[in-house]
């Protein structure tokens, strides 16, 4: 049964690879546009055995990890402060919305002027990209908590800290997770784009560097690695937390 299920996930990819190969051979597409699947496999084996892929992937994962931690540290408390106070929310909401419209990558030229072609530049861009959705969604989550929850706890004698711990934090958690997922979607892309321009390692650097030498095989290995890593991070880290909180509390499709 398990095997059958896995086969059903793999089958579409097998069909896709067959299609890709058929186009490559049938239409005589030049190697500078598209390479055949075996060439990608060879490049994959080469990049893995020489430790190149691991090195570039590690750089990307390290940066996104650090950025996620910092963004969480900044975004969640800020989101709480804004969400729990209606004056702060009124003041900051349009401001945050505005900055949400300016993608992190748009600040990249300025960041390069300030920090040069360094990891700091990439880190700043990714943190900026991640922080805004996290703050925003934390704020939305806190504000969506029914006032009665707070009132009920007050009449049970709860103080401010207790209300934050027992009501605001768990109440806003699903929304924080949604914000984090969205932020990671934007952040991972900002990371790749920033790495392409900063050229200091990372999978973005790998695929953009391969472009310079028309190494289509390397580009495609890099793309597949980027996709797989994102799915692994999303499915293994973020989604379990999401389904645990949402399903357990019955907040999904009430």
């Amino acid at each position: 049964m398990r095997l059958l299920r896995e086969l059903r996930i793999l089958l579409p990819f097998i069909v896709l690879i067959a299609l890709w190969w058929a186009i490559k051979v049938g239409a005589q597409v030049s190697d500078t546009m598209l390479v055949a699947p075996p060439a990608v496999w060879d490049a994959f084996v080469h990049l893995v055995t020489h430790g190149i892929l691991a090195e570039y992937a590690a750089s990307s994962l390290y940066l996104i990890g650090v950025a996620a931690l910092i963004s969480f540290g900044i975004g969640v408390p800020l989101g709480f402060a804004v969400g729990a106070n209606r004056y702060a929310a009124r003041a900051l909401e349009p401001f945050l919305r505005f900055f949400q419209g300016i993608s992190g990558i748009a600040w990249l030229p300025l960041a390069i002027l300030w920090f040069g072609f360094t990891h700091t530049t990439t880190l700043v861009i990714v943190i900026y990209t991640l922080v805004v959705p996290i703050v925003f969604n934390t704020m939305v989550g806190v504000r969506a908590i029914p006032e009665n929850y707070v009132l009920a706890l007050q009449s049970l004698g709860a103080g401010r800290l207790r209300i934050v711990r027992d009501v605001y934090l768990p109440g806003a958690l699903p929304s924080i997770v949604v914000g984090t997922r969205l932020g990671m979607g934007y952040g991972w892309r900002a990371l790749i784009a920033s790495e392409m321009l900063v050229r200091q390692g990372g999978l973005g650097d790998l695929i953009f560097g391969a472009r310079t030498f028309n190494q289509i095989d390397r580009i495609m290995v890099g793309m597949i690695a980027i996709g797989c890593l994102y799915i692994v991070v999303d499915r293994l880290l973020v989604q379990p937390v999401e389904s645990m909180t949402l399903a357990r509390w019955g907040l999904l499709r009430q």
Binding site: S155, G157, G250
Partner: protein, 258 residues
């Protein structure tokens, strides 16, 4: 005066809205004695909830004073428990943890908490649902948890704002009987808001009737109790005296239809 559990005098409330001030209530005076079950009936929008919120301490009255045990009310406190119409139990806590929340906040030991929770789970017929989450319960069950949570915190006064309004009619009858039993067993002072005349009379020692907005208290009827221990709907509906009172209250309420 000093014996009044709650004394509201000259209370009036005005809400400030974007469109300007809105008078929420007329001038209200009332007292509630210790151990008394007082119900308040009135048309929607007459300001019942505003009055209850003021007694709970969630809002400061625009005019007048509210005394609890002779002391002015400054804000919400654990001496006055509140049961809301909309569910205010926390969806991320199990039944057990919701009921024990008040004791947890008060810093009670785990043993003490377990004992009280177990007693209330038994009293409110929640046995077997201790470790369920609220979304796994029916509406009536959830409201039982809300009532049990308030009782577990052991406040002296309990304020209830149409707690059974969102529950289906059959379950409602059961909940009302359970509440009556609970009150008889614990002797709490209860202030209960409803727009159901039968519910008001069935539960109360005293019924207050409010006018339409801006609401004031237009009448007050004592409901005699023959056997305080057992209140049930069968004997209630069979009692001609209760039917008389119901008719009177119905008359008073109907005059306020908008």
């Amino acid at each position: 005066m000093a014996t009044d559990k709650i004394a509201v005098s000259g209370f009036r409330h005005v809400f400030q809205t974007e469109a300007g001030p809105v008078q929420a209530t007329g001038t209200i005076d009332l007292t509630i004695q210790p151990g008394e079950f007082v119900t308040l009936v009135g048309p929607s929008g007459c300001g019942k909830t505003t009055l209850l919120k003021a007694i709970a301490g969630f809002i400061q009255p625009s005019e007048g004073t509210i005394l609890c045990d002779g002391k002015p009310i400054k804000g919400p406190g654990r001496d006055r428990g509140v049961v809301f119409q909309e569910l205010a139990i926390l969806p991320w806590r199990t039944v057990r943890r919701n009921i024990g929340h008040g004791l947890e906040i008060a810093g009670a030991s785990k043993a003490e908490r377990d004992k009280t929770v177990a007693r209330l789970i038994d009293l409110m017929s929640l046995t077997g649902f201790e470790d369920r989450y609220p979304h796994e319960l029916s509406g009536g069950m959830k409201q039982r948890v809300a009532v049990a949570r308030t009782w577990a915190a052991d406040p002296e006064i309990i304020l209830m704002d149409e707690p059974f309004a969102a529950v289906d009619a059959m379950t409602r009858l059961t909940l009302q009987e359970e509440l009556a039993r609970l009150c008889a067993a614990t002797g709490k002072t209860v202030f209960f808001i409803t727009h159901s005349v039968e519910e008001a009379i069935f539960l109360a020692d005293r019924v207050l009737v409010m006018t339409r907005r801006p609401g004031t208290i237009k009448a007050e009827l004592a409901v005699p109790r023959r056997n305080a221990g057992g209140r049930d709907w069968d004997s209630f509906t069979a009692d001609p005296e209760m039917r008389d009172i119901a008719e009177k209250v119905m008359h008073l309420v109907h005059a306020e239809r908008v």
